[in-house]
């Protein structure tokens, strides 16, 4: 029992101890003074601090990593990377070509100079003046201004060796027109700074077994070439670097735009349909897409609003009769009644159900028509004939109701349509006209006027009519004006007419018949 209480008390004490230490900075816990609690609380507090810090750092790092990964995945980055690589490769190739041709040019210039010298010395040799030749070589060697070295050696006899002894630098025999290190082709004092200087060599066999070798040190040229090479490499790397930075920058800015779009999209998805994407003044492709998406959102918002309206109306108009039906049955069941009573109530219940079904069917038809889901094959129909049929039916009804009925169907236009729907729309209009015209001298009139190109079907009456400010409203579903609340009907008649008219690309007009209402459906042949 005791231990249980202690166990239960511990966590609370720990919290208190920690809070006390943190907030008040008091080393002695004034609240609990509990040794056990302190013992647990103290090591817990410092342990939690780094953990908190760790998560604090880890989150942005992880975020940055994620952001980085996303950045590398953007198409902008990928494209700029490809572009950077291609561009760098191209510039490297161009600069490389320049480098190689410069090198070639320099070498052939050096070679030309070497050939010139060789020709001069060979001419001396050919004229037979061996001492002059040797003198010339000695002199040139002493000057050594242009980094040129001469050597006359014997490849076979010892005579050559003798001549060679007089030379300050001995050149080894090498293949002509190659570039070597000085140290490889010449006898230099050990540790000479010139050992690694490049030298271009030309070698000529003389007829007496002697061999003329001329070397040309090309350190300056080599330095120039090396510098050029460094420039080429540097330029290539710089191009690559700037392209990468450019790619990252473009990628980031694209990502930022996209992020703003997707953030807004998330907000919209979470239910706030009034949100819109930001459209900047740059008027670029992103703004174009954002504007288009905004238009789409506007349309969706409208649709949802009207759907909400419809569901509300449906809920209202189906719920009230359903409630009525349910209550009727429930109240009947409250106590024993005679069979006659049950029969009457059930009859009424069936009537309620029928009226529900009628409303439901009408709603379904309208919804289907408004969604443009009329699968029926359209065909050319004789509108006058169709109107005449309806006129016969309703003329008889009007007569029974004590109303005058006038049909003026002088034309019989041929029109491509769904004749069932046109007939239904017409019967709905006549149903309404007969229902609302109750005057002593009541009149309902149906007329078809026009020709094959454009015609109108007009239903007029001299009933109460519809006040001008209400005329737009009566097209809404379930709208029933105050004075018709108690007459039968579901308030869907005109909505259906309008849906049919819209489906056929025609126009519907309500006008004052002074007195009464005049409904005109205007059709025109489709092009």
């Amino acid at each position: 029992m005791n231990s249980l209480v202690d166990e239960g008390a511990r966590p609370r004490d720990v919290t208190l101890a920690r809070t006390g230490a943190k907030v008040a900075g008091d080393p002695v816990d004034p609240v609990t003074g509990n040794a056990a609690a302190r013992a647990i609380g103290e090591p817990a507090a410092p342990a939690s601090a780094p953990a908190a810090d760790g998560t604090g750092k880890a989150l942005p790092r992880r975020f940055r990593q994620a952001h980085g990964r996303r950045l590398f995945r953007t198409s902008a980055f990928r494209l700029s990377l490809i572009y950077a690589t291609l561009f760098s490769a191209l510039s490297a190739a161009t600069l490389g070509f320049i480098y190689w041709s410069t090198r070639d040019q320099i070498e052939s210039q050096v070679d030309a100079r070497l050939r010139l010298e060789t020709d001069y010395l060979i001419n001396l040799f050919k004229s037979g003046a061996m001492p002059e030749l040797l003198e010339a070589i000695q002199r040139r060697n002493q000057i050594d201004t242009y980094g040129r070295f001469y050597y006359l050696g014997n490849s076979e006899s010892a005579a050559g060796e003798q001549v060679a002894e007089d030379l300050p630098i001995r050149l080894k025999s090498v293949r002509s027109h190659t570039t070597r290190n000085m140290g490889d082709v010449a006898d230099l004092p050990p540790g000479s700074a010139r050992a690694f200087n490049p030298v271009r060599v030309a070698e000529t066999q003389l007829s007496n077994g002697l061999k003329l070798t001329i070397g040309h040190e090309i350190s300056d040229e080599k330095a120039l070439l090396d510098h050029t090479f460094a420039l080429v490499v540097g330029a290539t790397l710089l191009t690559l670097l700037f392209s990468l930075i450019g790619g990252l920058t473009i990628g980031t800015s694209v990502l930022r735009r996209i992020d703003s779009v997707s953030r807004t999209a998330s907000e919209i998805m979470s239910g706030d349909l009034s949100q819109r994407l930001k459209v900047t003044e740059r008027d670029d492709e992103f703004d174009e897409i954002a504007a288009k998406l905004n238009q789409m959102l506007g349309r969706i918002e409208d649709l949802i609003r009207s759907m909400r309206q419809v569901t509300n109306n449906v809920a209202h108009d189906l719920r009230s009769p359903l409630t009525r039906l349910r209550n009727r049955l429930e109240v009947t069941l409250l106590e024993e009644r005679d069979p006659q009573n049950y029969r009457a109530v059930m009859g009424e219940a069936i009537e309620d159900a029928d009226s529900l079904i009628h409303t439901f069917n009408a709603m379904l038809s309208i919804a289907r028509l408004e969604a443009g889901l009329d699968a029926t094959q359209w065909e050319a129909a004789h509108i006058g004939e169709l109107a005449q049929e309806v006129a016969e039916l309703y003329g008889a009804v009007a007569e029974v109701e004590g109303l005058r009925f006038e049909a003026d169907i002088a034309v019989d236009p041929l029109y491509h349509c769904n004749r069932h729907l046109i007939a239904q729309a017409l019967t709905n209009l006549l149903d309404n006209a007969i229902k609302y015209t109750r005057a002593e001298d009541g009149l309902v009139a149906l007329s078809v006027r026009g020709d094959d190109e454009a015609f109108s079907i007009v239903v007029g009456d001299n009933g109460p009519g519809i006040p001008e400010h209400e005329r737009e409203r009566v097209f809404q579903r379930f709208v029933r004006l105050e004075n018709e609340r108690n007459s039968p009907g579901n308030g869907l008649g005109l909505s259906l007419v309008q849906a049919v008219v819209r489906l056929h690309g025609a126009q519907l007009e309500l006008t004052d018949n002074a007195p009464g209402l005049c409904v005109t459906m205007r059709f025109a042949r489709k092009r």
Binding site: A353, T376, E392, L393, Y394, A396, V397
Partner: protein, 231 residues
């Protein structure tokens, strides 16, 4: 009448079986298209009621299969799809009539009887007779007790349809569909007015009425007035 009902909604089928049994029919129920096909092949029925959407074998495919096998038993299709096009599809598959759910029991019985009768009598003659009322389809002439009766073209077709279904209940929507080709119900009961006009022409001046109203169901053209049913 021996009727086969193929309907997967057991509760709805239960009401239908009860209603049809109480109005004097023998009815057998199959819950899916395959069982329906087996029953239809094994037994001889006067008519069949087949739901359009069924498990295992779709209603339309069941009808097509039966027709392919040479079974010509009249079929009434029940469906929740009420497009004019759906009707056409159903009738093309071999159905004889098409009734949209929800329906009135009296409507269903009337249509079943019309189907069965049509199947039994086959081709109609060119002159129809009910009592002393005669309708000549060729000469387009109606007489009663030798007296000429002038009818509008539409009234003539209305009477023709009623006479083709003599002794049977004909519902308002059957008349709308078959005489006017309207597949919707106008709110005003235009049919009642048409019937009363027709009645004024064929019954008014004669002693025994032929055209009777069947309460809660429709109309019936019949010689004797005593056998009027109640719906």
């Amino acid at each position: 009448m021996r009727i086969l009902l193929v309907e997967d909604d057991v509760e709805a089928a239960g009401y239908l079986v009860k209603g049809l049994t109480e109005s004097g029919h023998v009815i057998e129920h199959a819950e899916d298209g395959e069982i329906g096909l087996q029953l239809a092949v094994a037994n001889a029925y006067d008519s069949m009621i087949i739901d359009r959407m069924l498990p295992k074998r779709d209603g339309l495919s069941l009808i097509e299969e039966l027709r392919r096998m040479g079974n010509m038993t009249p079929v009434l299709i029940l469906s929740a799809l009420d497009d004019v096009d759906e009707r056409v599809t159903g009738l093309k598959a071999g159905g004889d009539d098409y009734l949209t759910k929800p329906y009135q029991l009296s409507e269903l019985i009337a249509r079943l009887q019309a189907l069965t009768r049509r199947a039994q009598t086959g081709v109609q003659g060119t002159v129809l007779n009910v009592g002393d009322l005669t309708l000549d389809l060729i000469r387009h002439k109606v007489t009663r007790s030798g007296q000429n009766i002038n009818l509008q073209p539409r009234e003539f077709r209305l009477l023709e349809y009623l006479m083709q279904h003599t002794g049977q209940v004909v519902t308002r929507s059957m008349l709308l569909e078959n005489v006017w080709d309207y597949h919707f119900d106008p709110q005003t009961n235009v049919i009642d007015v048409q019937i009363s006009r027709l009645r004024g022409k064929i019954d008014k001046d004669f002693d025994s009425p032929l055209l009777h109203t069947v309460r809660g169901a429709g109309y019936k053209l019949q010689e004797a007035a005593s056998t009027v049913e109640t719906g």
